[in-house]
Amino acid sequence: MHGWKGNRLRIDMTNRTYEVEPLSESYFKKWIGGRGFNSDVVYHETRQGMDALDPDNPLCFGSGALCGTFAPLSGRTTVSARSPMTCSLLGSSVHGHGDTNMGGAFGPMMKYAGYDQIIVKGKADELTWIYIEAGKVIFKSAHDIWGLGAKKATIKIQEELHDPDVKVALIRPAGENLVRFACIMNTFSASGGRTGMGCVMGSKNLKAIAVRGTQPITITNPTEFIKAAWALREEIHNSPSAIRRMAEGELWISSMSEMQSASTRTKMFPPVI
């Protein structure tokens, strides 16, 4: 199988066990990307009326077929679970599906470690962080890093493993204290902030997931692939929207500021002609 690694890692925090589940190619072709796998798992493995902080709530980290390859805009990770922020479509008070999308290098490193998806279930009886490497999952005590922010905790984990290349997805004090809109951070600054996935991670007493892997991602036709990726890149870099975003930032702040519709009224950016 090319692109996908073909494995799903299930971690049970309650019993401190893990299991690698190989998946068929047809499954991947059906769901394609991280959001697809995650939605499938969250749909089938949650019960009706389940609370988001229930230990059985599956916290899924998924990434797609192109994640970790040369394809532009591919290195994203989706985190899904039943969300403490949303309600179901019928307007009842039951918690509904939530997913958030984050950048950073966690997703690609997850693919290099050999997994397309990591599912965390259960609740640890003490504060824990997880290290995933070369087919092994190691559970470690998180008493030292509990309460630290993204930068300090990541550096501490990297120092403990003697490996600056390890990628860490973690929660900060908000997630530890079950703030319902807490976010998950990775590689210092990339954040998955929507639908309160940090709260779900905190409810499992899980401070951080550190991943390290060295497996390559294979491609069916490398030369054609890189030529298509180059052409796509050129198209993106030359599109008027991208040029404007590069100059003005993602939110087009200066034009919004001109229209006085920005929430801040800084005139920090000079107008672009």
Binding site: F70, K151, F188, T218, F225, W230, H237
Partner: protein, 179 residues
């Protein structure tokens, strides 16, 4: 005496944004798959201070790797690149220990070392340079012009310092000072 012009890849680490595209392109070129561990250029990340430094073989004029290799497997091509001859290399990793940059890497498939060969047989030029379209931190230039871009950048900075930009018509009275 004529100076032989050879092409070199010049790295400007100030411009590197750490996107790892060059690693992916190198890996696809030489191995046909995507993995940073199959790449001959590696980006050393210092994400806590947002600094990224691409490290690759500089093809030094007086290269230590060519001297320490017990099998004389590190040899210079006509193009200026220094490569490991796979039939001679015994995988002792002496070139890794001797390299002042840490730019020599072990090929995970053969156990022998690998460094940048400048993709010379390819008419596109080095793929890492082609991949670095966004930031242009990598440039493929004649060895005589290696310092040209850097000198120009520095001179531009100097010029701006001595000659402040003229007042614009736009009203920036509320603006913060942006340097």
């Amino acid at each position: 005496m004529s100076v032989k012009q050879q092409k070199v890849i010049v790295v400007d680490s100030d411009k590197c944004a750490g996107c790892h595209s060059c690693e992916m392109a190198c890996s696809i070129k030489h191995f046909g798959d995507c993995s940073p561990y199959h790449s001959r250029i590696r980006i050393q990340e210092f994400r806590d201070v947002n600094t990224f430094i691409p490290v690759m073989c500089q093809a030094c004029k007086d290269a230590p790797c060519t001297k320490v290799c017990p099998m004389n497997a590190r040899s210079r091509l006509d193009t200026g690149a220094i490569v490991t001859l796979e039939d001679r290399c015994i995988g002792c990793r002496a070139c890794i220990y001797a390299c002042p940059f840490g730019a020599s890497h072990v090929n995970p498939e053969t156990g022998k070392t690998m460094t940048c060969d400048l993709c010379m047989e390819d008419e596109l030029g080095p793929w890492c340079v082609k991949a670095c379209t966004m930031q242009q931190a990598l440039q493929f230039v004649d060895s005589g012009n290696a310092a040209l871009a850097k000198g120009r950048d520095w001179a531009k900075k100097l010029k701006e310092e001595y000659e402040p930009p003229k007042a614009d018509e736009t009203d920036f009275s509320f603006s913060f000072s942006v340097k």
